[in-house]
């Protein structure tokens, strides 16, 4: 069993595709103009940016003037939620999101609470789904915005945007979705999905960090959240991150391929099935099959703490995560796993393994060889349950 570097944390961030790098490179030292400049350096920059905008718009069935570039998923979510709320506060003061949304959605909503808005954090079922019926029940006459994550970053659950969006449309409520994890990994079509705003970013799909986009359907009442020189049709000021935007466009071009999805799905299922077979007392979090992100695996190992498991995996060259990368800033067990109704032990024993199209078959085989032994070792030095017969203090 030879040591390998195996990167299974593509849900946190991804390697920039060398093909993407190649397309970006000229924009650093040659075509380095400011897209707002009138001269030929400005023209080149603008052309690169508009080409990327076209690729991204067409990848989701949108018009180019419905794509606003931002600095990433966090900014897009802040922008969408805070600005829609502030722009439409005459219509109502109620926002709906879910208990499994990303921290940047949840904390944007919490900020809105400090500004006098009311927020409902919806429960999910045990696989992480929100039903259209439950959503409809949560909507009140005061509701102005529903923001629900599309593909969940921890457990991979993919919500039914069409069904949820239709409920919103019926009640005249804006619908925003955070599609950072699902973008290019499952279909997103603004022609058929009643979505008003959608958050996208580049660094989850082999593009550069620090660039994202917000899709804003034509006619949506929204004002800029970051004010300044009036870039992006006055919706998002700041000198455009041209090289980043160009790289974002190319990363979408490279990623939009059913082959990649099929490949990741096969490896995902091989790894899930292999672990469930080799290791006792493991639970898969999130659904199986089509309604799970093709690159996401999330498991709870009883009697084992996730970070320690990750630490030993890292020693063997395998990069995993205990949930979202942000959780290193926070000691609480994952709010997503808890929302599924799992116990604290299950939540604390969670690891996430996220693949990419660059993950190899050998990477999966190696992981399947290494992981069971580590779990065994950790259970041996664990004071909890199953393996000993001491009465646990927490049960006392």
């Amino acid at each position: 069993m030879k040591y390998r570097n195996v990167y299974l944390d593509n849900g946190a961030t991804t390697m920039v595709d060398p093909k993407v790098m190649e397309v970006m490179l000229p924009y650093y030292t040659k075509k380095f103009g400011n897209a707002s400049s009138g001269h030929h350096f400005g023209d080149e920059a603008r052309q690169g940016m508009e080409k990327a905008r076209k690729i991204i718009a067409s990848s989701i069935g949108a018009n180019t003037d419905e794509i606003v570039f931002t600095s990433g998923g966090t900014e897009s979510n802040n922008f969408a939620i805070k600005s829609i709320a502030c722009t439409n506060k005459e219509k109502g003061n109620h926002i709906i999101t879910s208990k499994i949304d990303h921290d940047c959605v949840l904390n944007s909503c919490r900020w809105l609470e400090t500004q006098g808005f009311k927020v409902t954090f919806m429960d999910v079922d045990k696989e992480g789904f929100i039903t259209p019926e439950a959503l409809e029940e949560a909507i009140t006459p005061e509701t102005i915005l529903v923001s629900i994550i599309h593909g969940n970053n921890e457990i991979g659950t993919i919500q039914d945007l069409k069904a949820l969006g239709e409920v919103c449309r019926k009640h005249g409520v804006y619908f925003h979705t955070d599609a950072c994890q699902s973008y290019t990994k499952t279909e997103l079509n603004m022609k058929t999905m009643p979505v008003n705003l959608m958050t996208l970013n580049a660094h989850k799909i082999h593009g550069p960090k620090g660039v994202g986009a917000l899709y804003i359907r034509k006619g949506t009442e929204i004002k800029s959240w970051q004010d300044g020189g009036g870039q992006e049709d006055n919706l998002r000021s700041g000198t455009e991150n041209i090289h980043g935007i160009v790289g974002f466009g190319e990363s979408v071009k490279q990623a939009m391929n059913q082959k990649h999805r099929d490949y990741m799905t096969r490896l995902r299922d091989k790894l899930i099935d292999g672990i469930l077979k080799e290791v006792p007392d493991v639970r898969l979090n999130g659904p199986k099959g089509d309604k799970r992100l093709c690159n996401n695996i999330n498991l709870s190992f009883l009697g084992v703490e996730g970070e320690a498991l990750g630490g030993y995996l890292d020693q063997k060259g395998i990069c995993s995560s205990t949930g979202s990368a942000c959780s290193t800033h926070n000691l609480e067990p994952s709010h997503v796993i808890m929302a599924l109704g799992r116990t604290h032990e299950e939540a604390n024993g969670t690891i996430r393994l996220t693949l990419s199209r660059f993950t190899s078959e050998e990477d999966i085989d190696y992981t399947l060889e290494v992981l069971p032994g580590i779990v065994k070792k950790l259970r041996k030095i664990s004071p909890i349950g199953r393996l000993t017969n001491y009465v646990l203090r927490e049960n006392a």
Binding site: G303, V304, E305, E307, A308, G311, Y312, Q315, T328, H329, L331, P333, T343, H344, E345, N348, K380, I381, S382, P383, I384, T388, Y390, L392, R393, E394
Partner: protein
């Protein structure tokens, strides 16, 4: 994130495991908090002759447990009581601020073990306060 010393303790915890017939056992923490430690002691003449831990917890918790055992081994009970979380943080080469609390866990588990030993009727004649 972690120092090399922390990672060494974590990767090769010399004191991980159980003592089959311990003179004292102490526990602290619980699964809800995400970390829990049990410490096993072999004691002779108020001196810790052997020490082992079992820990459910993160990298820092496991490293700190191992470090605690290293510091406690061969100490008198009185000396062992004086070990502070700062000694542990030093032994593991520092901890990220958000993880410093992990080093407190072991201190408390050790105290519980010593307390239970001292309070136990069969050890009353060899009272800790009389030990040198």
């Amino acid at each position: 994130m972690y120092s090399e010393k922390t990672l060494n303790h974590f990767r090769n915890p010399k004191f991980a495991g159980e003592i089959k017939d311990p003179d004292a056992v102490g526990e602290q923490g619980n699964v809800k908090c995400g970390d829990m430690m049990r410490v096993y002691l072999k004691i002779e003449d108020n001196v810790i002759k052997a020490v082992r831990f079992q820990t459910y917890g993160c990298v820092a918790a496991i490293a700190a447990s191992d470090a605690l055992c290293k510091l406690a081994e061969s100490k008198t009970l009185k000396e062992a009581r004086k070990i502070t979380y700062k000694d542990i943080v030093r032994e593991v080469g520092g901890l990220p601020p958000i993880k410093v609390h992990c080093s407190v866990l072991g201190i408390d588990a050790l105290k519980h073990a010593i307390d239970s030993y001292v309070k136990s009727p069969k050890n009353q004649e060899g009272k800790e306060s009389k030990g040198k």
